[in-house]
């Protein structure tokens, strides 16, 4: 089974530049204030190239690809 990846945004580093939503509108849209809302779940194979570009083009390195995780309860 091939590795699956998902996009994760560092909410503190992100300052609403919006390039990620321009590059990957299939998975990222901007909220009412210009900050990215990322569709949850792994990225489809055919969009991985664009996802990698979105990660690379972010001017503040606020978005990254990580191994797709199973949802689990997060303690404080």
């Amino acid at each position: 089974m091939t590795k699956q990846f998902e996009l994760a945004v560092d909410r503190i580093k992100c300052d609403g530049r919006g390039l990620c939503a321009e590059i990957l509108p299939e998975r990222i849209r901007l909220d009412s204030w210009g900050y990215p809302i990322v569709a949850p779940g792994p990225i489809p194979e055919h969009l991985m190239g664009l996802a990698a570009r979105a990660v690379d083009d972010c001017p503040v390195l606020a978005i990254a690809l990580r191994r797709a995780q199973v949802q689990k309860q997060r303690p404080k």
């Binding site: 560092d10 909410r11 503190i12 580093k13 992100c14 300052d15 609403g16 909220d31 009412s32 204030w33 210009g34 900050y35 809302i37 997060r74 303690p75 404080k76």
Partner: protein, 391 residues
């Protein structure tokens, strides 16, 4: 109702209990370690800071991540405006808290203990530092006091660690969580002071404590902190506070990140973290707030929303702008009357804000607002314009 456990002993209003009396009353400090952690797991003690996470599991996790140099932070910041329990414990039972902190340090293999106390909470500061002078040389060398800025998020775990580590009390991105990488990169245990006090009792008795500290505030005759048995009906706690001073519109259970409940349902609610969770509620930091019927519910909610929005650390766009937009919409409804557009906006923005901050602040506020819109649905839907009333 059986005897209090944390506040047993001399009257808390008499001030800081001295070490000699504390030891005479409760016995010497037991040993911490693996056995204590397992005991905590068995007793099912949950945190009293607001999140209610199982204490034993947390200590296990920190021990695993610790390489003999973990850090324990006793969180007494008490940023929740109406909560008084942590201060009461610090000013009257400092040695219970210090015992708990030392037991934690021994159990998770920590070499440093930090007492995180609100910088404006002078009595608590005095009491804890005074109590520190009565401890052993070894303990005194391990412990230091760090002052918390008087802001709501200053008590957040990652903000606490950030302040202790780098001098700025803003929440940080997790992962990594403080349990794994906290102060100086070491595994850090952040535990509320009341929780540590419970640990100090449990370590001596070998069984679970069966009390909880509650702050009753708002429209009651004698607001204050009360130690009640777990499972006590909320109405009984309100009676301890002298009963409602006027007819009650609604009860806020769990402080500003809690839920609104109608009085009829509220009085019989058991003050038990597990039981409340089963009903979709949360004890949180133990604040029970009564809103009198003479107060406008929408205006109360709008005021609290404005406060919570202003307490955003402004690091994440969705939180800062989203909460401000939500608070503004609530204020518009409160001052100018209901507008269906505003009601829709509240729904839409709540969905957009939830889960999109680095910490739990926006989530807590959204849950508070959603609970308010459910409980005060009619008030929100048909609110007339009137002058803003202060809380």
């Amino acid at each position: 109702m059986s005897a209090p456990q944390l506040l047993a002993g001399p009257d808390p209003s008499r001030g800081s209990e001295r070490r000699a009396e504390h030891v005479a009353r409760l016995g010497p400090l037991p040993k911490g370690g693996h056995a204590l952690i397992e005991l905590l797991v068995r007793t099912g003690l949950t945190g009293r800071g607001g999140a209610g996470f199982p204490v034993g599991l947390k200590w296990r996790a920190v021990t695993t991540a610790s390489h003999g140099s973990a850090v324990v932070i006793a969180n007494g910041a008490e940023g929740e405006p109406h909560s008084r329990k942590d201060r009461l414990l610090m000013t009257s039972r400092p040695h219970l808290i210090l015992d708990g902190a030392m037991l934690a340090a021994a159990s998770v293999h920590a070499k440093q203990v930090v007492l995180y106390i609100g910088e404006e909470h002078h009595a608590a500061m005095r009491s804890m530092s005074g109590a520190l002078t009565e401890r052993t040389e070894h303990e005194r060398r391990m412990v230091r006091i760090v002052a918390a800025p008087p802001r709501y998020v200053a008590g957040d775990s990652s903000a606490t660690v950030h302040l202790v580590d780098a001098g700025i009390a803003t929440p940080t991105t997790t992962p990594p969580s403080p349990r794994d990488r906290g102060v100086g990169g070491a595994a850090t245990l952040v535990q509320n002071v009341e929780t540590l006090a419970h640990v100090a009792v449990i370590a001596r008795t070998g069984i679970a404590t069966d009390t909880v500290l509650i702050t009753v505030a708002g429209g009651v005759r004698a607001p204050g902190v009360f130690e009640v048995n777990v499972g006590t009906p909320l109405g009984d706690a309100v009676q301890l506070a002298g009963g409602a001073s006027e007819p009650v519109r609604a009860v806020l259970v769990g402080g500003y990140f809690g839920q609104w409940v109608e009085p009829a349902e509220a009085w019989s609610l058991p003050l038990d973290p597990h039981a409340l969770r089963a009903r979709g509620l949360s004890l949180g930091c133990g604040v029970i707030g009564l809103v009198p019927a003479s107060h406008c519910a929408v205006c109360e909610v709008a005021g609290i929303m404005r406060y919570l929005a202003s307490e955003s650390s402004a690091q994440c766009g969705p939180c800062f702008f989203g909460l401000r937009a939500l608070a503004d919409a609530c204020t518009r409804i409160a001052e100018r009357g209901t507008d269906p557009g505003d009601l829709q906006r509240l729904q839409r923005w709540s969905a957009e804000v939830q889960g999109r901050g680095a910490c739990k602040h926006p989530d807590g506020v959204v849950m508070f607002l959603q609970s308010a819109m459910k409980t005060f649905g009619d008030d929100f839907a048909h609110h007339p314009a009137h002058i803003r009333r202060s809380a």
